[in-house]
Structure formats: structure tokens, C-alpha cells
Amino acid sequence: MIRVLLFSSLREELNRSLIEIPACGISDVSCLIQKLEESQGKVWGCILRGENILIAVNQIMVHDNQPITDGDEVAFFPPVTGG
């Protein structure tokens, strides 16, 4: 399974903080977004492909061509606003 985490405005827009989907057939992050779009609805694709959306795989910042494998944790979130 791939563990998908959503933070901040993305969590509210998609109304989920966590979703787990089977890793089968998912090679990278953009492929994961495709699968989420197919299983959860088009809005997932629109939001997760948003221009400013940041991606972390296993808590390391990456781009959407990052390869992923079974057991990985993938997080999507907007630009940060701490401090």
C-alpha cells in the first residue's frame, strides 16, 4: 500500500487527511495522482497537480517524477507559512 497524507488547505478541499491505495501499477508520484484521480474523482487530479503543490516522499521533498514503491508515505501540501 501507498500511504497518502494531505495537509492544510488540501486536506480541507479533499476532505481527507489520509488515504491508502494499493501500490500495484504505481511507478512514480504522477502515476499515483492519476490513480487517485481515477478512484477518488477528478477534483483530486486538479488539486494535486496544482502549480504550487509541494510533494514529499518518505518525508523528503521531491518532484512528481519521483519513483515510489510499496510502503512509501507520500504527502501533498501547499507552500509553508510557519514562523
Binding site: S8, F77, G82, G83
Partner: protein, 163 residues
């Protein structure tokens, strides 16, 4: 080297954190600290409260990495970062960054560097509740510019002088 990076809901005591840095080593000749506080007015909105969220595990590691990067860059002896999460109100402390070094110049620069990177690179998000409703805040261009200074060739805040 003293390095502390903590994320907590509870209030912190900036004075005792500063003392903790001071007491770490007799070599410390100066401490620069920054205290971030919730404002009552943001972009014209009267703020009732802020909600701060983070990515447990990742954000703690990012703070440590920022602190280590500052240590690699300047000769500092102690760094303490505390960031609060959860519900905060105007006048509440949000963030503390304290840096102790032999000479003040390095502490000033390392403290500013840590805050600039914390604001633009550490996984925290603020949601503001104001009289006009609630909204997630967006990254300010000035914060991005501030962080970019440390990598840009055109403007370098680096100053190797010993005061």
C-alpha cells in the same frame, strides 16, 4: 555543540531558553534571539486566532537540518528552536530562535538565516480566524526573497568581520 529543535502546543519561556543557551558554555560571548508573536492585525484583518499545523516527524527533522546548516556556515556554539502548534491568540508567542556564539556577528547572522529558512522551508501552515472568517495564509514574497538572499550572488548577507 548544543542543538535543540522542539515543536510543542504549550507556551515556552523565552528567558529560560536564553539562559539554557548561556549556561551551555563559558565560551559563549553573545546570544541573539528572535521571538515571533501573533499579531492582532494581518493584511487589514482583525485576527481572532491562528491555528498552526505541522507534518509530525518531517517538520522536526527540517528544523534540525536548518540548525545544522547554520552550524556549518557559522562558528556558533548553541542553537535552540521552539515552534508552537495548535490554537494561538494575538500576543501569544509562536516561535523562538536563539543562537549563542563567541562573537555577536555570527549569532546575528545565524539567527536571521534560521528564521528565513524556517519561514520558507519548514512544514508549518497557519490558518487565520478573523472577523471576516477563516483562511489559510499564503507564503509572502518578502519571506521568499529573504531566504533567497542567502544563496544569491548579488546580495550576500555574509560578513566575516569579527566585531
Amino acid at each position: 555543540m548544543f542543538l535543540r529543535a522542539v515543536i510543542q502546543e504549550e507556551p515556552f519561556n523565552a528567558q529560560s531558553e536564553t539562559a539554557r543557551i548561556r549556561d551551555f558554555s563559558d565560551k559563549i560571548g553573545g546570544i541573539v534571539s528572535f521571538l515571533g508573536v501573533v499579531r492582532d492585525l494581518n493584511e487589514g484583518n482583525e485576527v481572532k486566532s491562528l491555528f498552526l499545523e505541522h507534518y509530525p516527524g518531517m517538520t522536526e527533522r527540517q528544523l534540525e537540518e536548518i540548525a545544522r546548516a547554520a552550524c556549518d556556515r557559522w562558528n556558533v556554539l548553541a542553537i535552540s528552536i521552539i515552534h508552537r502548534i495548535g490554537r494561538l491568540h494575538p500576543n501569544d508567542d509562536i516561535v523562538f530562535v536563539g543562537v549563542g556564539s563567541e562573537h555577536r556577528a555570527e549569532a546575528f547572522m545565524a539567527c536571521e538565516y534560521i528564521m528565513d529558512y524556517l519561514k520558507t522551508n519548514a512544514a508549518f501552515w497557519k490558518k487565520e480566524q478573523s472577523v471576516n472568517g477563516s483562511r489559510w495564509l499564503v507564503t509572502r514574497d518578502n519571506d521568499l526573497k529573504a531566504a533567497n538572499r542567502w544563496t544569491s550572488d548579488s546580495v550576500s548577507p555574509d560578513n566575516e568581520a569579527e566585531y
